[in-house]
Symmetry: C2
Subunit: 259 residues, 2 copies
């Protein structure tokens, strides 16, 4: 129809920029390499810094980049596969490199959402609940922070209430919970943003994107415990193996170039 339309559909600059940068990462950069700083990149592409940052944010969300204040922007390694086991053996065993580390154990308040998962009815008395904090490390990097809520009624044969709050008490509660046979578990995964305390544990800024894994552990008499684990969404790929771990080889090439 006569004249040739150059760009019939206007692609946003930051989107196009993201594509260009993504291809550059594939071809010209190696994992761990430091990118030019944002001001220079913005100037190089002829856009405002805010626009450039919009593209970098996307790439960081996809796990391609890692940005650290005061340091710079580096090319991120492929995401770590983190097993979210379906079996029950995750209470103790598990791959040594990715085990949960008990951090603390107090008897504290329970969020409303968790209360209903535990089967608690209304406001009035519901008995004490152990709140265990655990962290998970992979390749030396923290990948997840967890709050595990265990009603004292789920571990009746435990006399650790008087033990000092801390990792030791956390371990004894976990051991006792492990004794009561668990019938199964329900699990859900959703996107969230890191609360201040989790962010600190994960070495990220508050609001960083996380994958929230909520697990309900079922005992003989209903829900025995509820776990809310937040995984770093930028560095983690959660794996649910019915028969081994999924291994994804990304299509990225790691080439030369040092500049």
């Amino acid at each position: 129809m006569g004249t040739t339309q150059l760009e019939p559909v206007q692609e946003p600059k930051y989107w196009h920029l993201k594509t260009v940068l993504s291809e550059a990462l594939d071809s010209d950069f190696a994992v761990g390499e430091i990118l030019p700083n944002e001001r220079e990149l913005a100037a190089r592409f002829g856009v405002a810094r805010a626009t450039l940052r919009q593209a970098l944010e996307q790439l960081e969300l996809e796990g391609r980049l890692q940005r650290r204040r005061g340091v710079g922007t580096t090319v991120a390694p492929p995401r770590v596969g983190v097993a979210v086991s379906t079996a029950q053996r995750d209470w103790n065993g598990e791959v040594a490199d990715q085990a949960w580390q008990p951090v603390d154990c107090v008897t504290g308040e329970v969020p409303t959402a968790v209360r209903s998962l535990l089967g608690f009815r209304e406001e009035p008395g519901t008995g004490p609940v152990y709140v265990i904090r655990r962290t998970r490390v992979s390749n030396g990097q923290p990948v997840a922070a967890e709050l595990l809520y265990v009603p004292a009624s789920s571990v009746p044969d435990l006399s650790a209430i008087d033990a000092p709050a801390g990792p030791a008490r956390a371990r004894s509660v976990l051991r006792e919970l492990h004794r009561v046979n668990l019938k199964g578990q329900d699990r859900s995964v959703e996107l969230g943003s890191a609360r201040a305390d989790d962010a600190k544990e994960l070495d990220r800024l508050p609001g960083a994107p996380v994958l929230v894994v909520t697990t309900r552990y079922l005992g003989v008499a209903g829900t025995a415990a509820v776990s809310v684990a937040t995984y770093r969404a930028d560095t983690c790929r959660l794996t649910f193996g019915d028969s081994g771990a999924v291994e994804i080889r990304h299509e990225r090439q790691e080439q030369r170039r040092a500049s």
Copy 2:
């Protein structure tokens, strides 16, 4: 109450703003209600529009808000629980309201990442691969778009190559794939951003946050098929039930106020 004084804290403005808005959503707004527009909200809180938008983006990421260009910002309903079944019956059955809908089926190219999951070795000939597009709907809203890669060698008894590309062919490939007994499946979940085609299917803008579920279906002779499904991260909560669906009652209150 017109303007809310932001405390002189070290906390970033947008973060504090997000908290304030979140509490306001809990107490003063009902699901589906329309918020004041961004320019007015920004003025009301005494911040720049960009700062206000940073807070809104966070809340949208957490599934609390829904923003539509040309329309406005509304209070989002609680996330839909979408079952990512562990069993094999998801090929056909499944909850009627959340079933997959075949859209198309062509024989096309396979991304590098999927190639390695399928066990393909190097560049040269690997035989044709069916690429099936499916979508998933829940409560009338599209929640997921999937690309299912089925090597023709996985469905040898199929003579549908000559059938016209389309939903009909997709169904016959799925039926045939269902016939070969599947031994199990590996699955992984990670955060991503919607590609242009997926975004269109999901009624979102390109780059919208999605949960990417990669599934490897194992047959008697290795990987029989690979599925890459992208779920809307803002509206979906993926559930993995070992014994029924997880039901989360969010701590939000739906109160009065109509304005």
